[in-house]
């Protein structure tokens, strides 16, 4: 569906994108992850044909974005960062203009505009000037602009930035509902968002791809240890001794002392689950376990690890 082949982008001497390649298949929801300034928007702007790569090739649904620009661009709906909109137009006028720009036939235009207005739920503000609607609605209108003409590919640059939590959930729902009909690429620096919505993640840092895979894979791969948090009632301070009898524990961290209970974080090897053993040992010593939980590894951790690793590598 989308093929990015050895693409680089230079601004003078500064290399914003360094020789990246990846493939996106039909029906995938792909998350572009990276810290600010990593090159997410630049990459998206290149896929949409807004800017040209310094070298490399981008093929969109079989069409070269550079040579067959018109055909390639017809396949893409783009929601740029910071939701640029024409403030002097009403919502409906804007969508109708987008339909004109996207070569929608006159006969189909009216129905298509209606469809899109309904799909993103902005029908009730359709006759308001865009400058007078709220940020959440603007985001929807921008998404509507991308949806006009039912393009196969949707490229959404930071679709939830600047929204309040309720609006964020709404927009996410909306995007999730699109996955049946479209291939979606979205960028974000909010990791939970990506791990919730995407089935493929591309982590990018300083213009380079450092990992491609599905979210669980990436989480597991970077996960080197298991962390178990325990809260115990231990009046005689025997817990520390108990722990010594359990094998494969790497470190034990005392977290806090709360009324009668103490909490610890225990780090052990990734393949060992010590919970059972710990439970038995504690029972022997008459220590009450109030809470015991394996900490879920998150994409957040994976991301931090990967970008930090990259940083260290860069320093060397």
């Amino acid at each position: 569906m989308i093929e990015v082949k050895n693409v680089s982008k230079k601004y003078g001497d500064f290399e914003a994108i360094k020789d990246i390649s990846f493939k996106i298949d039909e029906g995938e929801i792909v998350g572009f992850l990276g810290p600010n300034g990593a090159g997410k928007s630049t990459t998206m702007n290149m896929i949409t044909g807004f800017i040209e790569p310094t070298s490399g090739k981008i093929i969109v649904n079989g069409f070269d974005i550079d040579r067959k620009a018109k055909k390639a661009k017809k396949e893409i709906g783009y929601m740029p960062e910071n939701v640029p909109l024409y403030n002097d137009l009403t919502v409906k006028e804007f969508i109708s203009y987008m339909a004109d720009l996207k070569l929608i036939k006159r006969k189909e235009k009216k129905a298509e505009v209606e469809r899109v207005l309904n799909a993103v739920g902005v029908k009730d503000v359709q006759n308001k000037l865009i400058k007078n609607i709220s940020r959440g609605y603007k985001q929807r209108v921008s998404l509507a602009g991308a949806l006009v003409g039912n393009p196969k590919i949707l490229i959404l640059d930071e679709p939830t930035v600047g929204l309040d939590p309720k609006q964020v959930t709404e927009i996410r729902e909306l995007i999730r509902s699109l996955k049946e009909k479209h291939t979606v690429i979205l960028s974000s620096h909010i990791l939970s968002e990506v791990s919730q919505m995407c089935n493929k993640v591309i982590i990018i840092n300083k213009g380079e791809i450092i990992k491609i895979g599905n979210p669980e894979e990436i989480e597991n791969q970077t996960n080197e240890t298991n962390i178990i948090s325990v809260v115990v009632e231990d009046e005689e301070n025997k817990f520390e001794n108990v722990i010594k009898t359990v094998n494969s524990i790497k470190t034990v961290k005392f977290i806090e002392n709360k009324e009668n209970s103490k909490s610890y974080e225990i780090e052990c090897n990734v393949n060992d689950d010590i919970r059972k053993q710990l439970f038995k040992e504690c029972a022997k010593e008459d220590i009450t376990i109030i809470e015991m939980k394996k900490k879920e590894s998150s994409l957040e951790d994976a991301f931090l690890k990967l970008t930090e690793k990259d940083e260290e590598g860069g320093k060397k």
Binding site: N45, F50, A69, K73, P80, P84, D100, L101, L103
Partner: protein
């Protein structure tokens, strides 16, 4: 092209821009008309037009300053440039939208010809030739203004540079020599006499084409430098 043309034209009249331009021009024409016809008893539409064109230097930037500068500043150029429309059709759409504003202005101005016709017998042909010259001159101003608007995202700069440029052209063209040929205003002189001079027509059209082309090149180039 028509998609962009239609939207741009709408924008001119949804915002005060179109009204400001037309209003200012008609105000000047009315003043000149009054002083020629009522004070000096001339029945001559061409002269009214001739004396009114100086104001174009100052008011065409009202139309052209926002053309591309505003799009770039607001980021809406991302919507335009990632649509399947070509850069050529976008530029021409914007250019012809401004041309339509000029045509509307001309249509309103022509009311004064009607008034003269009612009371006297001015020549329609000469008046039309003068209008043609006026239109060509305005197109040249617009193409230059559009070009400046495409290289900046600051609308103030996009307005001031063309004004200064045309004032300088006017200033230098007062001296003899090569600069004389440069003045767009000087090139207008034969039209009110009822003469369609090839040199002037070609001059205006080439000037407009040159800056339309340069605008296209600027936008094309920006894709690779941006």
């Amino acid at each position: 092209m028509f998609a962009v043309l239609k939207k741009e034209l709408k924008s001119y009249f949804l915002t005060p821009i179109g009204y400001v331009f037309i209003g200012l021009f008609i105000a000047v024409v009315s003043f000149v008309f009054y002083s020629y016809t009522f004070s000096q008893h001339y029945i001559n539409f061409e002269y009214v037009l001739w004396d009114s064109i100086m104001i174009l230097t100052f008011i065409t930037p009202v139309i052209t300053m926002r053309m591309f500068a505003e799009e770039k500043k607001n980021g809406t150029d991302q919507l335009l440039m990632t649509s399947p429309r070509s850069i050529v059709s976008i530029v021409l759409g914007k250019f012809f939208a401004a041309a339509v504003v000029i045509l509307i202005t001309i249509a309103i101005t022509f009311v004064y010809f009607g008034i003269l016709k009612y009371f006297g017998s001015p020549s329609l042909v000469v008046a039309l030739v003068a209008v043609l010259g006026f239109f060509l001159l305005a197109m040249s101003y617009i193409s230059f203004g559009m070009f400046i608007s495409s290289i900046t995202e600051n609308q103030i700069i996009a307005a001031i540079v063309p004004i200064v440029f045309f004032l300088l052209l006017g200033y230098f063209s007062q001296s003899n020599g090569i600069f004389e040929l440069l003045s767009l205003v000087n090139m207008f002189q034969k039209f009110p006499l009822g003469i369609i001079a090839l040199k002037e027509v070609v001059g205006y059209i080439s000037f407009s084409l040159l800056f339309i082309l340069l605008t296209i090149i600027v936008l094309q180039r920006r894709k690779s430098v941006k």
